[in-house]
Each structure stands twice: as C-alpha cells, then as structure tokens.
C-alpha cells in the first residue's frame, strides 16, 4: 500500500531554472511532510519540512507547498544548481511517533 507517491521518476532542468518536484499522498491523517535529498553512496539528508497547519514553507532556494485538499505537495528549487543533481524523496508521517512513509524518489539532473 503505497501511501506516498512520486509519479515522476526523473526530471531534467537547466541550471538557473526552477525545478518542481511533486508528491501525492492518500492518507488524510498525515500531518508532517519532509523532503530529503540523496547523493549516490550516501544516506538521505534532510532538506525542508512542512506541517499540515501551513501551506508554504521556504528556506533559501527551497520552497515546499502543501495542498491538503488535493493531498499534494511540491518542492520548488530556484535557481537550480549543478549540485542539486540528486534523488529527492518526499516523506510523510501522522501526528504521532512512528515511521515516515517515503515516496519512490525523483532523480533530478541539472544541466549547464
């Protein structure tokens, strides 16, 4: 039962342009959403989070948008840089301690 879905396995974007990564979920009980970035042979690193009481959270070049009615969140990276080339995972959890559910990931390639 895949409760968190990233339907785009890959994304190619030019350096300096905006990268938009999408994530859909099915569990309306999810209250916390996080984005992670993963380089090969390394563990995922935390990027940005948002709780369900907000619809936007911004941190430097990274902005996460949450649309609870559509059960959809997105990550915007502006401007995209070559170092942003990585796999990005969205993750979600209900408002209680326990596991995070992860999406399958989106491979981002930033081209010069």
């Amino acid at each position: 039962d895949q409760q968190v879905k990233q339907n785009s396995p890959s994304l190619s974007v030019q350096e300096g342009r905006i990268s938009i990564l999408n994530c859909d979920y099915t569990n309306s009980m999810f209250d916390y959403f996080l984005w992670y970035k993963k380089y090969p042979a390394e563990g995922p690193t935390f990027l940005i989070s948002i709780s369900s009481i907000k619809d936007k959270n911004e941190d430097g070049r990274f902005t996460v948008f949450l649309n609870k009615s559509a059960k959809h969140l997105s990550l915007h990276i502006v401007p995209s840089q070559p170092g942003d080339s990585a796999v990005y995972f969205c993750a979600a959890r209900t408002d209680s301690w326990g596991k995070f559910q992860f999406g399958a990931g989106t491979q981002v390639v930033v081209t010069p």
Binding site: L34, A41, E42, G43, P44, K99, F100, F102
Partner: protein, 116 residues
C-alpha cells in the same frame, strides 16, 4: 558532532548465510529506524524503536529479519539465511522526539548488502 554511523559499509555474503548490520545513532536520539532501498526503489520501512517502548516491527519482510537495540543506543539488524532478494542498501536513521513529532530523521550512509 558525530552523525549516524553504520557498519560495515559494504557486505558481500553467500546465499544462506546470516549477516549482522550495525547502527550507532546520534547521541541522545531515542528514536531509531531501519529502512532499506532496493535497486531502483524507494525507501522501505523495516522497524522502529522509540525509547523503552515495544518496537514497531510492521515492516520486517519475513521472520528471517530481526533487530534489537541494546541500552537504548546501538542497534543490530540481523538477517538469517540470506536470499538474493535481500540485496539492498540498509539505512539506519535516528531522531530526537524532544524536537517534536515533525523532527527529521538523520540517516547514516547505509550498508550495501550483496547476496551472491
């Protein structure tokens, strides 16, 4: 400060052998998680420890998999009678409940397990 440490970083084993994977979480983090990532797949939850509570084992794929956490710190994931489908990167993560339910997981670099 020190992050989550996993050992070994790589493990090659023959089908049918047992393996143990180790995780040292960040000091003071009471929550510890094991995930695995098979080739081309996302992160699959395996097991979760929180303090002295009973672990959430709902993600363990079979009874060949087990994990323990001694003294609320170091954790060992054991896979008995390994099969080729167990080949994956096994990731450990820890977090601090003191930071709230939305606090992020901090991952180690994983153990790449290859079963031949």
């Amino acid at each position: 400060g020190a992050g989550v440490s996993q050992s070994p970083s790589n493990k090659v084993t023959e089908k049918g052998k047992d393996v143990e994977l180790r995780c040292d979480p960040i000091s003071g983090h009471t929550a510890l998680y094991w995930y695995r990532q098979s080739l081309g797949q996302g992160l699959e939850f395996l097991i979760y420890f929180q303090g002295n509570s009973a672990p959430d084992k709902s993600g363990l794929p079979s009874d060949r998999f087990s994990a323990e956490r001694t003294g609320g710190s170091v954790s060992t994931l054991t896979i008995q009678r390994t099969q080729q489908e167990d080949s994956a990167v096994y990731l450990c993560a820890s977090s601090s409940p003191a930071q709230g339910a939305g606090s992020p997981l901090h991952f180690g670099n994983g153990t790449r397990l290859t079963v031949t």
